[in-house]
Symmetry: C2
Subunit: 213 residues, 2 copies
C-alpha cells in the first residue's frame, strides 16, 4: 500500500553516536535493507539468511545482530523504509477533499503504480508467498506493514460517515475490503489485469452497490 | 471454491482397458492424487517431485509419466478431483432461487467451510504461495481451477441482471470480486477472521453499497 507509518523508535539521545558514525551507520543500514530486499526477491524467504544479507551488504554478521534479532526483523524494517521512500513527502493519511470517491480513487491509483514498481514488487511477492504458508510470519507482517495502511482507509471512511456519505451502520474495516481486496487478489494471484480504470470501477461499485437504486 | 468442473477428457473407447485393470488404474490414480496433495502440503511446490509422489503413492515413476507430463499436471488434476469430491452431488452452478442475496450467501458460507477443511487448506496454500512468485504456474492454476468457479458467479449475476436485481451497466466479472476477493485475502494473507456472518456482510455491502440510498 502506498502509505505506511514507521514504528521504529528514534534512538534515545544519550545513545546517539558522533555525527560521522551516524552517517556510517545510516549507510550500513541502507546497504543492509537493500541487500535483504534483493536477496528475498531472488531466493525467497526460507533461503534468505543473516549471513547472506551481511555478505551482500558488505558488513559483518555482528553489525546486523547489533541492530536486529532475526531476518524477519531486518525485512520488516527494510519494508517500512521502502514504504517511507515510496510515500516520499506525502502525508500519512488519505486525502479528505470532501469527495470520498475521488479520494479513494486517487489512493488506489497510486497503489496500482506502486504495485508495478519492481523495487517493491519482487521482495513483496516473496514475503507474501511465505506469509501464505507461514502463518506466524504472515500475521506479523500483516500487523506491522499492511494493517497500519488499512487503518488509513478506516479513518477516511469514518470521516465520510460523519459527513453522511457512508451509511452509519457500515463497519469501515470490512467496507474497505470491497475495493482493497480485489486489487490485492489480482496482484497476488494473477487473477486479472489491473489499471486505474479497474480501481475506479471498484470504488464506484462499492459506494453505489450492484443492485438498482 | 466450492464448485469446479473437471476438464479431464474421458479415455477414448478404443483405449479403454479391461474392467479389473480400470479398477487398478483408478486406485493408482487416487493414490497418486493423495500423495501429490499430501507432499505439496508438507514440503511445498519446489521440493515436490514426480519421484517423491511415486514413492509415496507406491507406484513406479513410469506409471505417473504414462498419464501426466509434469508435477504441475498431476497437481492440477489432483485439485480438480478434490474439488469434485467436495462438490459431491451438488450441481456445478450457483442456485437461482430468485433471491440473489440468499443464493450468494449460501455459496460463500459453503466456501468458508471448505477453506477451513485441512484436506483442502494445506495443499491449496502451498500451491497459492507458489503461484504468488511463479507467474506462469499461478496463471495456469487460476485459468484451470479458480476461473471456472468464478464464472459460476458471472452466470448467476447475469441472471440477476436479466431479472432486474443487478444494474445493467455492471460488469459481473468485476462485481463478483467485491465479495469473493475479501474472503480470498483474509484466507490467503491471514488479514482477519472469517465466518458466515462476515461473508453475509460482504454480500449485503456489495449489493446495497456503502453510500446512503
Amino acid at each position: 500500500m502506498a502509505t505506511q507509518k514507521s514504528t521504529r523508535p528514534p534512538a534515545p539521545a544519550a545513545e546517539r553516536p558522533h555525527p560521522d558514525a551516524t552517517r556510517r551507520s545510516q549507510r550500513s543500514r541502507q546497504a543492509i535493507y537493500d541487500a535483504a530486499l534483493a536477496l528475498v526477491g531472488e531466493v525467497g524467504y526460507p533461503k534468505t539468511t543473516i549471513e547472506g544479507i551481511a555478505a551482500r551488504a558488505g558488513v559483518g554478521k555482528q553489525t546486523i545482530y547489533r541492530w536486529w534479532s532475526s531476518k524477519a526483523d531486518v525485512l520488516l524494517e527494510a519494508f517500512l523504509d521502502l514504504g517511507e521512500q515510496a510515500a516520499g513527502q506525502e502525508a500519512y493519511a488519505i486525502p479528505d477533499t470532501g469527495d470520498l470517491a475521488a479520494d479513494l480513487k486517487a489512493v488506489l491509483r497510486a497503489t496500482v503504480d506502486e504495485l508495478r514498481d519492481p523495487r517493491f514488487e519482487t521482495p513483496s511477492r516473496a514475503l507474501a508467498a511465505e506469509g501464505v504458508v507461514n502463518e506466524q510470519l504472515g500475521r506479523e507482517f500483516v500487523a506491522k506493514l499492511l494493517e497500519p495502511s488499512l487503518q488509513l482507509y478506516v479513518d477516511r471512511l469514518r470521516a465520510a460517515q460523519e459527513a453522511g456519505q457512508v451509511r452509519p451502520d457500515i463497519d469501515p474495516r470490512i467496507a474497505l475490503e470491497l475495493f482493497v481486496s480485489p486489487l490485492a487478489q489480482r496482484w497476488l494471484q494473477h487473477t486479472g489485469p489491473f489499471s486505474h480504470a479497474y480501481t475506479d470501477t471498484l470504488v464506484d461499485y462499492a459506494l453505489h452497490g450492484l443492485a438498482p437504486r
